[in-house]
Subunit: 112 residues, 2 copies
DNA sequence: TCGATATTTCAATAATTGTTGTATAGTTGA
DNA sequence: TCAACTATACAACAATTATTGAAATATCGA
């Protein structure tokens, strides 16, 4: 994870629409959703959704596969994990004592 | 951490300059740096830096305290931790099995 | 093949964000 | 008080990003 990838991922998440899309696809992992379903669920004009899907796919946040005339989108959870790791490293780097006194860090999924 | 806060934090991190500022301030935690030091270290015109510092402070990513004629900026590590938790929840929600097969999750600071 | 469907591309425009220089406000030390 | 210094506010402009409708591409079912 280099700085350039990190910034483009943050850019991908820095819009309400794109964050909604990503969360929706996480909720529907691993099956994913086709573009029309996303548009219907989020009540977005297809053109606009396509614009954001393209951006997110280009950034690597989503994967897309063709299914006949449908395009199925899936959240790229590995990239998200890498981003969390990057952020964690940024947050901690050399300063564990200041970052995590108050609140013991839990592992990622231990609340599920 | 609601969606609106999350998006404004991502927006704050979605620029090379702002990401550099944040990483610099994490490196200099907990002392922080005054605006002029940041400008010098990152070779930025003061006006432009001020623009970005204001945005980051407004988003809650930085804290600022006045020291005479200097403004001292510090990384808000608690907010960063909250953002990591949010992202982790988004990433995992109901899908731990798909998100973290390959790579066992480590606690945030165990590599330091 | 043909009409209906799904999605994207393109072009036009609107809206937002980033950068720079100049001016201003506040602080310091003499 | 005054000159030097730190930083921000403001205004102008540049650049990027978001949104929309119309047209194009490709697939499907009959």
């Amino acid at each position: 994870m280099d700085k350039q990838l990190a910034t483009s991922l943050f850019e991908s998440l820095a819009s309400g629409i794109r964050l909604d899309v990503f969360r929706l696809l996480v909720k529907h992992a691993p099956a994913g959703l086709v573009a029309g379903e996303i548009a219907a669920l989020l009540a977005l004009p297809p053109t606009n959704l396509s614009f954001h899907l393209k951006a997110m796919t280009h950034a690597g946040l989503l994967n897309v596969t063709q299914e006949g005339r449908y395009q199925r989108y899936r959240a790229n959870l590995k990239v998200m994990q890498a981003l969390i790791d990057y952020l964690t490293a940024e947050c901690c780097s050399g300063h564990t004592e200041h970052c995590f006194d108050a609140k013991p860090v839990k592992t990622c999924c231990d609340t599920n």
